[in-house]
């Protein structure tokens, strides 16, 4: 069934949102400082929705570069 494993670089990029939005919760789950009128935890998650999208975009570039290299090598 063998599928191509994702490149390590892409996997690391995918891990960043998990650390930022999930595992590190005790670091950012507080009200102060309020930013743009939002409690800090809500602001943090909103910011990371956008940053997660950027991480995946970077991971996408890594995969495209790998696929190019692979097809060039054959």
């Amino acid at each position: 069934m063998g599928v191509k494993k994702p490149p390590v670089g892409a996997l690391l990029l995918g891990l960043i949102p998990f650390v930022a939005m999930c595992l590190s919760v005790s670091l950012w789950d507080r009200i102060e400082p309020m930013i743009f009128g939002l409690p800090f935890n809500l602001f943090w998650l909103l910011a990371w929705i956008v940053l997660s999208s950027l991480c995946l975009w970077a991971a996408y570039r890594v995969e495209v570069a790998r696929d190019k290299k692979d097809s060039g090598a054959q």
Binding site: M1, L11, L46, S52, L56
Partner: protein, 477 residues
């Protein structure tokens, strides 16, 4: 006209437009099994995208997320994190699932298990767990319609008759038009939903406090503990947050309808690019939270938090606007419910009953059985919605605890050559049994950990152990 007549008429008109679009989309097509369940596979990528995006915004996001912001506070933030992270997970598994799907001609999640592990009983077990997990998700949507109609009628119509009516309408809708109808109605539903979320998310804090910032300042002043975890709860702290976010983000694409939708994409690359953009769709949820948090201060003391969004809309706006929000909410419940009913009924008839009990059934007979199942599943969910109450978020988490037990079998099946059928089967049985035991004995969360996550860990462990102890299987070429 009385206020309740105005708002109910508006809801009725919006739902009627939605149903009409559905019937038109289904007209002039011969409804055989293929056309009914997968739209004849003729879905363009835009329609596919709308269908997939449309499934995210169910009544869960609308009434459930605001309901938890109201009744639980901080823990509701898990919803923003899990949806975003679900797309991150999808980036690394959906293109691969699509690839093997194309190679072996798979159409459903159950096909994946029967092809990868070569065992029809494992595939059947996956169907059973999938269908069982759909039931609380369906119950959630039906309960949502009940809430909408009873609040919009200014408590003139009870929730039970409202829910019963909506199930009848739902079944008729699914019978008449199939999946193509659902996809088109979801376009209307999404436009209304985004409009509704943004307008009340900005409008309601503005009306009562002069803006979102002042609203949070007031809440931080009077109820500071409500805004962080564990909020108004005793046991939904950071351990619960981490385990629940992991459980639900890994499980998001394990729902049979979401998994199956991956097979209909144009290419693996489409799915990868979709995953890059989809997290941004989650931002709308913040507006729903604003409404729930405002309601804490403006309409305190509701016994059921899921009523908070509509109660505060009713208090802040004229009846016709309550009708628009209610109509958007009703479609938001009915469109996903139709997808779940279709998927679950087809799974039962085509992937469970025929292969295991009646291999000689024709496609026509399978289609008939699927229609019967639409009615049966609709009734079961209705009865549960009437007799067994739970918060909307609680219902969804029950479903997730079930479907996420597929995750080890899917990911290890894709990436680990050594995983075996007995390993996956044993792991999944252990996971499902653990979930059932912990939930029925009211041990969720278990020492702060989400029960589904505890079961998932056990599932992974047993899958790996038994796989090592059993001989490697030959992979399909």
């Amino acid at each position: 006209m009385s206020p309740s007549a105005v708002s109910l008429t508006t809801i009725f008109v919006i739902v009627a437009i939605g149903v009409a679009i559905g019937f038109l989309a289904g007209a002039h097509r011969k409804m055989d099994l293929e056309q009914w369940t997968v739209g004849g596979r003729g879905f363009g990528s835009l329609l596919m995208f709308l269908l997939m995006a449309g499934e995210v915004y169910t009544t869960f996001a609308f009434l459930g997320a605001s309901g938890w912001a109201y009744s639980r506070g901080g823990p509701t933030l898990y919803i923003m994190a899990y949806l975003t992270l679900a797309y991150v997970v999808s980036f690394f598994i959906l293109p691969q699932i699509w690839e093997v799907g194309r190679k072996y001609g798979m159409q459903t999640q159950s096909d994946f298990f029967s092809t990868r592990y070569g065992n029809k009983y494992l595939a059947g077990f996956v169907c059973v767990v999938g269908i069982a997990s759909f039931i609380p998700y369906l119950q959630l949507q039906i309960a949502g319609v009940g809430i909408i109609v009873s609040i919009a009628s200014f408590d003139g119509i009870g929730r039970t008759p409202a829910m019963a009516t909506s199930v009848v309408l739902l079944v008729a809708f699914v019978f008449a038009s199939g999946v193509r109808a659902v996809a088109w109605v979801s376009v209307l539903k999404d436009v209304l939903m985004v409009f509704a979320a943004v307008s009340i998310g900005i409008g309601i804090p503005y009306i009562h406090f002069g803006g979102i910032g002042p609203m949070f300042a007031a809440l931080a002043h009077s109820r500071p503990a409500h805004l962080t975890m564990p909020g108004a709860t005793a046991n939904l702290g950071h351990t619960w947050y981490i385990s629940t976010v992991l459980l639900t983000s890994l499980g998001f694409y394990m729902w049979p309808h979401a998994f199956g939708a991956a097979f209909t994409a144009k290419s693996g690359d489409t799915l990868r690019r979709n995953a890059v953009v989809m997290p941004l769709y989650t931002i709308t949820l913040a507006f729903i939270f604003f409404v729930g948090f405002t309601a804490v201060l403006v309409v305190p003391g509701l016994t059921n938090g899921d009523l908070s969004l509509l109660t505060i809309v009713r208090k802040s706006f004229p009846p016709w606007f309550l009708g628009v929000i209610g109509g958007a909410g009703a479609l938001t419940a009915m469109v996903p419910a139709a997808i779940f009913l279709l998927t679950a009924a087809t799974l039962f008839a085509k992937n469970l009953f025929r292969p295991i009990f009646a291999p000689a059934m024709t496609d026509d007979q399978v289609a008939k059985l699927a229609r019967v199942m639409v009615v049966v599943l609709g009734l079961i969910s209705l009865l549960l919605a009437i007799y067994k109450s739970a918060t909307l978020v609680g219902l969804l988490l029950t479903g997730y605890a079930g479907v996420t037990q597929f995750f080890p079998g899917v990911v290890l099946g894709l990436y680990w050559k050594r995983v075996t059928m007995p390993g996956v089967f044993a792991g999944m049985i252990a996971g499902v049994a653990t979930v059932i035991f912990l939930m029925l004995s009211h041990r969720d969360p278990l020492y702060g950990w989400s029960a589904g996550f505890v079961a998932l860990c056990l599932n992974f462990l047993i899958t790996a152990l038994v796989s090592w102890l059993t001989p490697a299987i030959a992979l399909p070429e």
